[in-house]
Symmetry: D3
Subunit: 72 residues, 6 copies
């Protein structure tokens, strides 16, 4: 399946922190660059996520804000 | 200002593609790793965005999906 | 690719309404049940969308609100 | 109340799965076509949701992604 | 219709700025407190929005971030 | 840091309701006008949120829907 989201970043699962309903998934997309995702636990299980697994972080471009340092 | 969004990725503006109302901002967060953001043109101007400027890509963790290759 | 989004609804493209930057895609997921999506034009082209094509409408469960009639 | 969201799909509550803070609501919008929503438990109670109740699944068009099978 | 979104703020349309596909709607929810919304032009027309009209700004609680001043 | 989100509303924390993973933060942005935010508990701690603290409610304009009363 190919999705319309503009950001599909390849990475590796660094850690999974399970909650009651949701799971926090930490994905390393480059050395030292991590992206945190929160998905439902049932999704995490359905995708068979585990530490070290190759995954993609998928983000719609309209969900990315831009910020600058204020002294700029 | 410090925001509650979990993902605040430092990067550099690679390109800005202006539209009628929105602007597409391409941010390099690591060598070869780019994130595309769509914000309003008035926001891009207010932040004085320009190629080469240091910025942050800000994404809520609940806006990050995870995907895996299907043959996995 | 398999995504963590809970809603992946199979359907058929009924119409594509192109704008300057975005395209409106109308997807029929059941007889008489249509879902409208707005994606960037470049995404629509990259997915080679066309009327009659089989596609999926993908929506995160946290992006679905519930409403009831007020006299209920 | 009438909302600006483009997708207002009539359906029936098939199941409600309560969590600690959130509730998962499964809505059938056509025979065999279900949409999963996650809302806060307090919202679910305020709307008096129950199995069999007629509801609407409300989704902004910018929150709908499109996907295609990769061999297409 | 009653929606599951937690934030339903009563206000008055201060201005409508039409674009090609979208419209920017500025809503005053308290004296001096304005909220900007971007919706499709067809939604704005369907809701018959006009300056001075009483409306509601509707926002899901998961779409509200919190920020603090950094010297705090 | 200055963000591209159009809505940055100054307010005061009225209450914090902690859950297992998330926290509900109620922000008063004007007398009698409250905005509810759900963020992760770790974000709430990192921002050192507490009742009475001055904060900002940050919302992207594309996350604000507009609604009208139906008899309008």
């Amino acid at each position: 399946m190919k999705v319309s989201a503009r950001n599909v970043l390849k990475g590796t699962v660094k850690a999974i922190v399970p909650g009651a309903v949701n799971a926090e998934v930490i994905i390393e997309v480059a050395p030292g660059v991590e992206i945190v995702s929160i998905i439902t636990k049932s999704s995490a299980e359905s995708l068979q996520l585990a530490e070290g697994k190759e995954v993609y972080a998928v983000v719609k471009s309209s969900d990315v804000m831009v910020a600058v340092d204020e002294h700029d």
